[in-house]
Symmetry: C2
Subunit: 103 residues, 2 copies
């Protein structure tokens, strides 16, 4: 398998380059949480948290479902596994490796 496109992984990779978002991902690794409970763990403003949740949901790393007034956030394991597979792939020697293809 070769890489079709590096670009498609950029949003998800960018999503994990912020300390707050990494902690949020870690917090969601055991199950779902609502925004207000996540906010309790940080000393950031509500709008800042909302911004981070948007980055995480738009990159499909976390799922968001509305439950009345609350939002319930959970990890999208398929996506996180996809990121891990991608990093594993590009850092591993491959039969059809990009470095073996004459350009």
């Amino acid at each position: 398998m070769s890489i079709k496109s590096y670009a498609e992984y950029i949003p998800a990779l960018k999503a994990v380059t912020d300390e707050t978002r990494l902690k949020i991902i870690d917090m969601l690794s055991c199950g779902q949480m609502c925004a207000c409970d996540i906010l309790d763990e940080f000393s950031i403003s509500q709008s800042t948290l909302s911004y981070h949740m948007k980055i995480l949901t738009e990159s499909s790393i976390i799922n968001a479902v509305r439950d009345g007034a609350w939002m319930r956030y959970s990890l999208n394991m398929e996506k996180t596994e996809e990121i891990i597979s991608f990093i594993t792939l590009i850092t591993t020697e491959k039969d059809d490796c990009i470095c073996k293809i004459k350009s």
Copy 2:
């Protein structure tokens, strides 16, 4: 095992949020290359490549050794494995998970 610090992984994670750098990592997955050979694969300026190589080496994702006038770049597998382990860890349920610890 719990996370000591999310921050220490940020530089390496930021290093993989650029299409050019992802391709460079992929190119190095089969072995070492010098900057000029890497540059041949892109249509970017030499200074821009040098900037990207600096991001990659300073985050320890790639190793750089001088060989006469050339620089020989290679993947630091320990570091890439560390990144993969970290992402795996934060996205996996743990006994001492951050979400189970009352703050």
